[in-house]
Subunit: 121 residues, 4 copies
């Protein structure tokens, strides 16, 4: 069964999600607008797991909390991959380009140990 | 230069982000709590791109809007990969397990063409 | 009983929430940072109610959905009033000042019927 | 000038926002779905102000940060009042009803000093 195999990479995930959605005729709901909303809702469900914890506690979640976090993160990734598919965006390429831009915006020797946004420097 | 190579996969991205953060001594800010907040802020910036568009318009963004969407999606992926690294979660595995669970929760022949949540069925 | 009286205004709500929180010794969790996170989570729960609906459907919710929306909106207002209390901000005054600024930023005769952000004009 | 008067209460704010929107013919964009999205985006902009601060720092913002927080909170209130207007929901009444429900869900003598959600008790 395809679904029980390990997930190979983001392309594999994209294709399996595409099939999952097609079988359910859910493409009609999957406008980028709706998918972005859904992604933000899943992001909030991830935030909810940590919101009343201290930062230290959030770094040492018990098994149940860690499992819930993994589930919400899977949901975020699902919608991210779906939007990328709808807009024909290569997520890894976009992440790589961002890395190059941020290396310029935040020179290591200038921002070391500081959390301010680049426009505050 | 490592940064200008293409990004190979999520493991490669994880490692490059880890190096990027270490060079800037930003690990101190990267508690799962803070990273989840940051992810949700980036998700909202993605939502903002589409919020006043119709669903149809959101599916046909012009080049500038599509580029902004790709940037925000890269930001979401960054933080998602960072949290997964901090919590030692395998994102692809989590996404695959979610696919199996959702195949059970939303049987194709029962939910076809409907957008209700599974607990409304 | 104070709690069963009608809520008079935002000042009344602020004071009742302050008492509610003090009785539970929850002030320790109510940093502006945590409250802002909590507010954003409640905002997402409001979004979730409408996310798969069309815009038209969202304007005609059935009684159950409308009641859920009212609950989530109450949660948003709670946290908003709590943050305002912690930062000593007058919400009505802030809303009034925003109205004045927006009247300047978005002159009616220039933006009529258009949804673009002011920095796109 | 009406706009430069002080804002009296939430009803006054509702009416001024209604006029502001009508003058710009923006009602067409103000479906509850869109307004909820917009509210969540403003909530995220509030979160962004505090995200890299410690909880302690977030409780002592400098004047600039406090002013930005007040602006984002005004935006949240705007959209909240707009959605309430569209769905004919009385925000103060909803907040009061929530207070009564939460007084039952979270008995002070049981939850004192603890931040867990009620379903974890």
């Amino acid at each position: 069964m395809a679904d029980s195999d390990g997930m190979r990479d983001l392309v594999d995930l994209k294709e399996r999600l595409r099939a999952f959605v097609a079988e359910r005729d859910w493409d009609q709901f999957h406008s980028p607008k709706n998918l972005a909303m859904a992604l933000s809702v899943e992001a909030a469900e991830l935030v909810e797991i940590f919101q009343w914890l201290t930062e230290e506690e959030s770094a040492m979640p018990d098994a149940a909390r860690r499992r819930r976090a993994a589930e919400e993160m899977a949901d975020v990734l699902w919608y991210l991959v779906r939007i990328a598919d709808r807009l024909d965006i290569d997520l890894l390429q976009a992440a790589g380009e961002k890395l190059e831009r941020n290396a310029v915006k935040y020179p290591a020797d200038r921002v070391r140990g500081q959390s301010r946004k680049y426009d505050e420097y």
